[in-house]
Symmetry: C2
Subunit: 484 residues, 2 copies
């Protein structure tokens, strides 16, 4: 095969930067309205981004972009990195004056909808930068869903080939159907965000905070406008509204598109959705009972505290309504394990995700039965579709790689001087795009600022790896990727 033709890749990235340059005008207007000087920062960032955008588009202009498999891998990975670089400009140029490692970390945490932050004193920040953080997560959410529906099934990454027939071409070239699907999805996403903002406003949150949190809830991002995260707001209604929208952001968005198009495939007929909701219910109830028994918290408050933080971690949002790391050893161990869960595929959540656990469970059960009934034939199916050995190996490879990377990165992060719990949970939450880890430094009441720059770079890389479902980025490390 010939040398990789990068022109269509640069062309598409050019368009993505165009969107980003436009998005930067929103916080600019907010700062202008608030009479804050930082509006100039967004204006400059936008202009810079626009300049490179136009440069890329003009120098790589083409009609009817058709991407090969290899080009799609490169585009997907490169796009996230380039967009992240330009997104970090406002963090570095504004009154925050974040260094490169901090700025890149914050932008990566935003775009990948992780929600870890290096900024302390959020409540004193001008509206522009707060809006920018929320907007990054909101835009990131669009990118993630689009990638999950269109690109990953085509790339056959980590079992995603299961969704190939449903939403992608069977040919070997990916014709970007993003524009097509993104429109339907875009309206739903926007509608959800507006609904969330209105309900948060009605629950007693100020308008600006409501808009910011609506954007970071439906994208399961988790950036807040307060250092204490959602714990700052005492109104139970605020918490319940956010629980609902974190859950909505964790379900497969294709189902919403089907619903809107009038197709009668109820959400609950999707076995991934059933597993997700049942799991949330079981874990939340168990934790609520535990909280009720071990503390003198009233029943309803226990239920709210448990449900909010469980949903926040499983959906990989990462808000905190309380410092659950103080709830005792069983709760801490539970939240540690929850760092490895995630929502449904095709949603904005990160992590391993329910689909993979479900396929794993089916495969394990079959394995087990075949051990004592070797002759029995047991074909696997998921949502009525056959699951062959290729999908099973693909899913299990994903899991194994996920844990291997967690181990490797934990050692690397520990080399920057961080203790075992901080290292392991820091990596696990980054890879799962959750937000907070555990322990005194990066726990739900902590902040990532005290970390060494090396640790921030490692965690930024882990966030990207997790977001790209590992393989999308890692295939490019293979020398034969560039040879074939």
């Amino acid at each position: 095969m010939a040398v990789l033709d990068v022109r269509p890749i640069f062309f598409i990235i050019g368009y993505l930067l165009l969107v980003l340059a436009g998005a930067m005008l929103v916080p600019m207007l907010a700062d202008l309205a608030a009479d804050n000087e930082d509006w100039q920062v967004f204006a400059v960032s936008s202009a810079l981004t626009l300049f490179f955008s136009v440069l890329l588009i003009l120098t790589n202009r083409q009609t009817g972009v058709v991407l090969t498999l290899r080009q799609t891998f490169v585009l997907t990975s490169l796009a996230w990195i380039v967009v992240c670089l330009f997104s970090s400009l406002p963090f570095m140029l504004s009154s925050l004056r974040l260094g490169f490692a901090d700025g890149f970390f914050e932008a990566m945490s935003g775009l990948t909808t992780t929600g870890s932050t290096v900024i302390i004193g959020l409540s004193e920040l001008p509206p522009g930068i707060l809006l920018w953080r929320s907007l990054l997560q909101w835009l990131g959410g669009i990118g993630i869903v689009g990638m999950g529906i269109v690109i990953l099934p085509f790339l056959r990454v980590g079992g995603m080939q299961l969704f190939r027939s449903e939403s992608s071409d069977k040919s070997d070239k990916v014709v970007p159907r993003a524009a097509d699907l993104a429109l339907a999805f875009g309206w739903i996403y926007l509608g959800m965000t507006v609904a969330c903002a209105i309900l948060l406003g009605l629950s007693g949150m100020g308008t600006f905070d409501a808009i910011c949190h609506a954007m970071t809830a439906v994208s399961t991002g988790g950036f807040s406008t307060q250092d204490a995260s959602i714990g700052y707001w005492q109104q139970p209604a605020v918490h319940w509204v956010l629980i609902v929208f974190m859950l909505l952001g964790s379900l497969p968005f294709v189902r919403y598109i089907s619903l809107v198009r009038g197709e009668t495939t109820p959400l609950l007929r999707d076995s991934q959705v059933r597993l997700f909701l049942l799991f949330i219910l079981a874990v939340s109830l168990a934790l609520a009972v535990y909280l009720g028994v071990t503390t003198d918290t009233p029943a309803m408050e226990s239920l709210r505290l448990a449900t909010f933080n469980v949903v926040s971690v499983i959906s990989t949002t990462g808000y905190a309504s309380a410092d659950y790391s103080t709830w005792g050893p069983p709760a801490v161990a539970l939240f540690f394990v929850l760092l490895f869960t995630g929502g449904c595929t095709g949603s904005t959540t990160g992590g391993v995700k329910m689909l993979r656990y479900e396929i794993l469970w089916l495969a394990l059960r079959t394995q087990m039965t075949r051990l004592f009934s070797p002759r029995r034939v047991m074909p696997l199916s998921y949502n009525g579709k056959p699951v062959d050995a290729d999908v099973i190996i693909s899913v299990m490879s994903f899991l194994a790689l996920y844990l291997g990377i967690t181990f490797l990165f934990s050692i690397l992060v520990a080399m920057t001087g961080l203790d075992l719990v901080t290292s392991v949970t820091g990596v696990a939450q980054a890879l799962g795009n959750v937000g907070p880890g555990l322990g005194p430094v990066i726990g739900p009441a902590g902040n990532f600022r005290p970390l060494e720059d090396e640790a921030k770079w490692l965690l930024s890389l882990a966030m990207l790896l997790g977001r790209l479902e590992l393989f999308t980025l890692l295939v490019m490390l293979s020398p034969s990727f560039w040879r074939t």
Copy 2:
């Protein structure tokens, strides 16, 4: 199929108890020679065990025992539990007066060659009980190798079907070839133990200690006769001798049998052996350099400290020559990850083991390449044998289950009030049959005595699960196991 015929199972367990009753005479003689009253405890325990042994043999007498698949699963699991129960008698009846949870824990830790202990003040114990602990690990080692060579390949557990053609029948009935292979293996094992004891004696260890440690080194068990474990002995030669014999105990014993039989299959042609030794070398050197750089330990001592403790944990022996949990965050993170490694299959080591990591690596590499070259056909082979999808799924299922059980048990252990690090590393070390965990309680300088009884039962179960390669025990939880 008919109801499970338990008679051949009880018959074989009867013979195992006969061996155990005989073994109990060894510490009895030691205590008699040392003029210690505990000799009566061993006499009573031996008599009790003998009584049940004869009872089982006589009531279930049969000629030409042939086991079905299901009977083999039940026998393997039940044998470990019953032998463990009788082995715990001396711990409960002797001057130690351990409770049931403690006694069972110590016996299980012995037989599974884990090496965790609940006994404090080892140096003041009579020789009988010390010898009993070492003997349990030595006998456990025989059981493990026998199981790994003969039974597990037949049961097709966790990828072990790879070794089916090599050492087991292809028919559906297992004709115990244990006696056959055990004889060859027994002599090698005994020879290794004697050699180790002599070399330890020459290195400056007392005769009794040398015998005890020889038995717990070749079985990669890790029980010591001192609370400070091997750190008690300052002679470098003692440490190097133990390093060599821990390594010898971690290699596939079938290779030794081949070597003795004159078959010229050099150990190093086995790719599992190569991976194991290279991994040990790389990790030891890296840690030695780290120790040399971060502390002012002389080079040779750094090398010895690093190699000893790395070999001890990877081989799942669990001796400690120093408290490596004080070596700083990177070392702690490294030892955390090493809890999940293990030696070669068909050895006395526990854990995931090198074979599985190797197959996983091969499968991951193929996965990766197929992502961008979907049409390429890439058959996998291991040591020249084809590895089909069945083996890959089997290996990956093992890994997934291994980590799932680690997570589940960690939460359960944390419910007894233990912190996150103690819970997670306690379970990981038990499942891997390592010995020490990390953290102040059960770290290399710690002891398992302070744990709640519930935690000890959970860890005992984890040791058994790990030793039986998970599936052997877990299949019996499936209702259809008992129906078919």
